[in-house]
Symmetry: D2
């Protein structure tokens, strides 16, 4: 099994992004699955094509996109991507879409194929906070999650894909009072557990809720 | 123009629900539109039919469902409803769905037809905090928003519909430390402004983002 | 009985301060006590003398200073004032003390003489969130609370005095995401209840804790 | 130089306390100072005497008490201890004082002798969030901080002492939604930096504020 794991590069005022910091430190193999790691640009118009090309050339079974969600208290697998770009700030190409659909002929939304309930439970079992998120926002994180789902719907029907948000790193909150953070070691631990669960649950359903 | 505004009844440990408390105090007419007010049950299996019957009998041009979102800091119009029931707690019929689709043949999600950007801006102009929400959750609030959209898609193509969450009332947070609240007067003021905006924007597009 | 109630004027980027907005709207008499209302400057070096002169000329039995605490979720009577000025920002005279004692020969701290447990309970009984605070900070609020206590210790042994913090007004949080607020009506209601309780408890002890 | 560092044992529903978990993992020597480590009971009536005996027998130059502050976002050195026991919950001896002075003949409050500004700055320099706290509460944490200061004032005039609060561990917030946490490695790193700073600043003043 091959799993493509992507992480965004730094954006806005931050010089570091926990997403690719975590992704680049993942082992090359988790639960017998090969892990392909890719840094992708925080850019609405470019990130989709970068991932698309990697899917075309590497034929992964799964795509897991990882992004930063400043303000969240734990790792949050996303359940759904919506057909909307609406940037509160400009991206790394200085592009800021306002209330734009991502794909004119795309669905309003796509659910992930990842076992988010089981993933969340597995991360908690490691002693780390985690919960399912119902919104990946309307910035580049939702954009890439949506784009991969759209390509799945139109091009790669066998692909399974999804997105996970991770909190700020401690160093990012030194000058942001009362902002939660999580250490890089715990980010890595949580993402590894989530991937293990994806592999173990492959072909099985994920029906139980988590509180 | 006729606008049906609904509010849920109290649920869980709360003896009061700011939603219907607000709705029942709305004026009978706002910006020349007639306001129809309806209390609906916090019950997955019943709330949809109650609203459906009212749409059939009263022929409203708009449906605005209002619900409580404990923990939010202001009024939050919802942008999208998703095809998922997943209750953290049981409803007033003691029913707790786990990871169930709402309608087997429904879309994954529906966007609201309400001008949520303009509504949010109007509430802020009154000096009240407001922002667009990207998730109505997976409890009864999302359920009714989804159900009305599903009926719109299948039965009432002219209908415009949406959902607004309002915070706890102050009395509800007396024993909930560090929980935000909003006074009933401010709830009413905010919902009236939102409805005024719906009427004024009728037939116009709502393209600008709000921060 | 005479009660002097003060409220600070606006400071920093805010054009309004809920403290004097509330104080100036108090009735002139509460539970048979005469209410003297005074706006005081948000200025370390001037506020103490303004209050001192009013005590000298009006001979109040109680002094209640009211100030804004942005970020708090309810009305918070303060238990203690400490001998420290340490401004995160400059005051309205553009003065910013760093780690300075307020009075070289003052005590490290003074407890309030107000019945803060009973006051908190009374505010809650009105359906408003309230809790005792253990720190008035090191800005002008703590400064005036300390100054009045210092004058009490050295000049007015019969005086009873204390401080209450109140949250932002809703209008102040429109552009401050995820900040709690409280309406002006609820501020007034809460301060009136607290003063009623001060009058009723006069001469009695205030021993019970509140949770 | 000898530094006594104490950490509380677990209390209430928690099976672990980050305080002694951190303290017991400190190196035996930091910046040439000898580190003495002591677990102390979360018990109002016993913790003071346990520390007192250790001061008498080991003659430390500094005492640093460490405790858990659930809900805080980083390491917070405390500036002041107040003469008040007021437990929201019972301690490990099932004792719950309500509004009691700690020492009938003690001062209302004592400032710490530790260089809290410099300590906070040093922790931040390591990439960890930290700020000075103005209240150690009225539970066992404030109690031990006050007790050591009281003994200093009456018995050990050369002693320098203070208190640091550290956040929940990640494992403690798995079932506490939206609660901040900090990893044990980061707790240890932060406490080591703080102690280094205490040693380096020994005999120097600590005048600068920190924001």
């Amino acid at each position: 099994m091959k799993i493509l794991v992507t992480g965004f590069d730094p954006f806005s005022t931050d010089k570091i992004n926990p997403a690719f910091e975590t992704v680049k430190r993942l082992p090359d193999s988790i639960a017998d699955a090969t892990i392909l790691k890719l840094e992708i640009p925080t850019a609405f118009k470019r990130c989709g094509e970068v991932v698309h090309q990697e899917i075309v050339s590497a034929h992964p079974d799964y795509v897991l996109n990882v992004g930063q969600a400043g303000g969240r208290f734990g790792i949050t697998p996303e359940r759904i991507a919506i057909n909307l770009d609406d940037g509160r700030i400009a991206d790394n190409d200085n592009y800021r879409p306002i209330n734009q659909p991502i794909e004119a002929d795309g669905a309003t939304a796509y659910f992930t194929q990842l076992p988010v309930n089981a993933m969340t439970r597995a991360i908690r079992k490691e002693g780390l906070p985690s919960s399912i998120s119902l919104s990946a926002g309307t910035y580049v994180c939702n954009h890439i999650m949506y784009e991969v789902q759209y390509r799945r719907a139109t091009e790669f029907p066998e692909l399974k894909a999804g997105f996970m948000h991770i909190p700020f790193l401690p160093t990012q909150v030194v000058n942001r009072p009362n902002m939660p953070s999580q250490s890089l070691d715990d980010d890595i631990c949580g993402v590894v557990e989530a991937i293990k669960t994806m592999v173990e649950m492959d072909g099985r359903s994920d029906v139980d809720s988590i509180e």
